[in-house]
């Protein structure tokens, strides 16, 4: 019986090309437009953005370089090579380059506010939410890097980068910069700009300094990632209006009367609406994210976490669906559904951060956004997309579930007793 109701809803939905376009076509178009148009802004080339970055050095680079040189001198390397190394080593000391030629470069100086800190300040800095990222240079980083580049030792030293999850944009910018830095080192562009003869120092391009180790906030979020999630959590709400609308029309056309006369429990019917909303929302999310995966390369580090978050969002859409259907039944009017679809969804999407990371600018807005099911869903998606585990988003999931259950209960309470009653 239940299955019949769901199957029938699916058939009706599929025969409405306008609905399909709204549910799948529109978000895809929006992801494409927003993801592309705002990629520069999102991906961190805007000068209006001011990112605070802290750098903690667990070493003294000058000492490291000197140490490296004196160790070489006492080694077995030929005299001429030692001379050359002595000359170039200070010039390719990685931290100096990163600080002076990257963060303090003309292009970035306006945007990046680099704060050099002592190791003792580390805890304090990690707690300070005004920093988008904290870069920690481990002990012997410079020494190891020089060894890797110049002596082809297989050490691969790594920088530690702590990203602040509240500052999505800033954290992304830092990630991008470090990645670029890494690439420039790799291809030697940077060094050749400095007028260094690459052949002479024989850089091994396979062994790189400054590999970014992502400890807290892992993978950077691109604008396409961001808008895929933003549009998906927004447009999935339209599934609630679509199914709610179909359900209301079953009442308006008295089909619902036929269901009642057939002695089918109204709770079966209610459950049918709930499950339809849920299942179709889930399918909609899968279609949207599959599209984003194929076309925009939006990939999930952990598919299970992704599916769990999607499931919870779908449950809340199911809850909204029965809520809308029940209220429209009660009021005998589809206005509530229209109002929800036009005004409420936009509002929720805006607060939830579907259009831009509104929560970055204020803690209050972030909290407000997470109080919408789509906003909470979005935060959960963003967190797991960065590579965090599902336990990191459990509070969001709980909230979404609570929202869904409340909607279902209110919907059940307002569902009319009989068919044609006023």
């Amino acid at each position: 019986m239940l299955w019949q109701i769901i199957k029938k809803q699916a058939l009706i939905l599929l025969r409405n090309p306008v609905q399909i376009l709204l549910l799948l076509g529109l978000p895809i178009i929006l992801i494409t437009i927003l993801g592309t148009a705002l990629s520069n802004w999102m991906d961190g080339e805007s000068i209006e953005i001011n990112v605070k970055v802290a750098m903690i050095e667990q070493e003294d680079e000058e000492k490291q370089v000197n140490q490296f040189i004196s160790d070489i001198e006492s080694g077995v390397i030929p005299e001429t090579a030692i001379e050359m190394i002595k000359e170039t080593a200070p010039q390719i000391a990685p931290i100096g380059i990163l600080k002076d030629s990257v963060f303090k470069s003309e292009e970035l100086a306006n945007m990046i506010d680099l704060h050099e800190a002592k190791p003792s300040e580390k805890e304090e800095l990690l707690d300070d939410s005004s920093f988008a990222a904290v870069i920690e240079v481990p002990e012997n980083f410079t020494y190891d890097t020089l060894q890797t580049i110049m002596l082809h030792e297989d050490i691969s030293p790594e920088l530690r980068v702590y990203h602040n999850e509240q500052q999505e944009i800033g954290a992304n910018i830092v990630s991008d910069i470090l990645t670029q830095f890494q690439e420039q080192m790799t291809f030697g562009v940077f060094l050749s700009e400095k007028g260094i003869d690459l052949d002479a120092i024989q850089i091994d391009t396979n062994e790189l300094p400054g590999e970014v180790k992502r400890i807290n906030q892992g993978n950077p979020i691109s604008s396409k990632d961001y808008y895929t999630i933003g549009m998906a959590v927004m447009n999935v709400l339209f599934m609630a209006t679509a199914i709610g609308w179909i359900s209301f029309h079953e009442k308006a056309t008295h089909v619902f009367d036929r269901v009642i006369i057939a002695n089918v429990s109204k709770w079966i019917y209610f459950l049918g609406i709930l499950l339809s909303g849920m299942i179709f929302a889930f399918i909609q999310l899968l279609v949207l994210f599959s599209f984003a995966w194929i076309v925009f390369d939006v990939t999930w580090p952990d598919l299970t976490s992704f599916l769990i978050v999607s499931l919870f969002i779908s449950i809340s859409v199911g809850g909204l669906t029965v809520l809308l259907a029940a209220i429209s039944y009660r009021l005998n009017s589809e206005n509530i559904i229209d109002f929800f679809g036009s005004v409420v969804v936009s509002l929720m999407a805006f607060i939830g951060g579907s259009f831009f990371p509104i929560g970055d600018s204020s803690k209050l807005l972030q909290t407000l956004g997470d109080l919408t099911p789509n906003g909470a869903g979005m935060s959960a998606y963003l967190t797991i997309l960065r590579g965090e585990g599902i336990s990191e988003v459990s509070h969001h999931l709980l909230y979404i579930l609570g929202f869904a259950i409340s909607s279902i209960i209110i919907g059940a309470l307002s569902f009319p007793k009989r068919g044609a009653s006023a």
Binding site: M1, T253, D257, R258, N263, V264, G419
Partner: protein, 310 residues
């Protein structure tokens, strides 16, 4: 078998049905007649367990269905006044869905669907989307859906509204056949006199929430036994003629149409000469004056002073 007992239904603003008593016995075709807004749909919504009466009772086989409508629902087919179908689904898909609501499935359902499609003459259109159907086809499917589970009682709410005469005849013949061949009990609601006259053994007439007459066709027509209905025909009317008819003390009820005036007068009065005189004085040429045996329409005119389709 199925009855309303002193049933009243009040909505926020209107009392749609006032203390209505009504019953249907097994094998009957009962007509429920009345103009729009009379309370017919409300009455049958209560009879079919869709609506609870504000006061009074609804009984099936002498048991109230208010607490337990299941026994009635099992044997009841309902044709709503509206086209209660999924317009985006095909005829077959609609029948399948509603059939499954009655827990029919597989071969049995398939066979039943074929029979129904044949009965309502939609076999050739079974795979068409209902949205593309004509009004008559939709109406027929609307009826077909209610017949799927072989109901013993079928309640039809104005099943022929807004369709072509051919479809209408088809539906009327089908209803008659179902009653004769399968002893199906029928409650047929309409505001068309001819339909109820053609189909029904017993008739209820409602107006403004009240029952204004009930009984067999003959009994109801006897209400008019003391009166004659006279139809006067002419190409056009003038004010003087209508004024003199309206002021005549012997004429009870008047209905003026474009080329026909219907009046009700006591049997003993000879209207021929009087009407001829009136016409002459008004300078009007009459085509014909006929005395008709009363129709239900006349009964309604008699009872309410209004034509049924006002």
């Amino acid at each position: 078998m199925l009855e309303l007992v002193d049933s009243t239904k009040s909505f926020k603003k209107v009392k749609a049905v006032k203390k209505l008593n009504m019953f249907i016995e097994k094998g009957e075709i009962v007509g429920l007649l009345g103009p729009n807004g009379a309370g017919k749909s409300t009455a049958i919504s209560m009879l079919s367990s869709l609506m609870e009466p504000t006061s009074g009772d609804v009984r099936y086989c002498n048991k109230s269905i208010l607490k337990n409508p299941a026994p009635l629902r099992k044997i009841l087919g309902m044709v709503p006044q509206e086209i209660a179908l999924y317009e985006d689904l095909t005829a077959i898909e609609n029948l399948q869905f509603f059939g499954r609501l009655y827990r029919m499935k597989g071969k049995e359902l398939q066979r039943k669907i074929d029979v129904i499609l044949e009965l309502i003459g939609l076999t050739d259109h079974r795979k068409d989307i209902v949205k593309k159907f004509s009004g008559g086809m939709k109406r027929r499917l609307n009826i077909g859906v209610a017949l799927l589970h072989d109901p013993e009682v079928i309640i039809m709410d104005e099943p022929t509204v807004g369709i072509d005469p051919q479809s209408r005849n088809y539906i009327l013949e089908t209803v008659k056949r179902l009653n004769e061949e399968r002893q199906m009990t029928v409650l047929y609601t309409s505001h068309y006199m001819e339909e109820v006259e053609f189909l029904c053994d017993r008739i209820y007439i409602m107006d403004k929430g009240n029952l204004i007459a009930s009984g067999t066709k003959q009994e109801i027509k006897q209400i008019l036994s003391a009166e004659n209905t006279i139809s006067i025909k002419a190409d056009r009317w003038n004010d003087a003629f209508i004024a003199s008819i309206e002021s005549s003390p012997t004429i009870h009820r008047i209905k003026v149409e474009e080329k026909e005036i219907t009046i009700v007068v006591p049997k003993e009065v000879n209207m021929f000469s009087e009407l001829a005189k009136m016409a002459e004085q008004a300078g009007l040429e009459l085509r014909s004056i006929d005395i008709n045996s009363p129709t239900l329409e006349d009964v309604f005119l008699h009872l309410t002073g209004r034509a049924l389709r006002d």
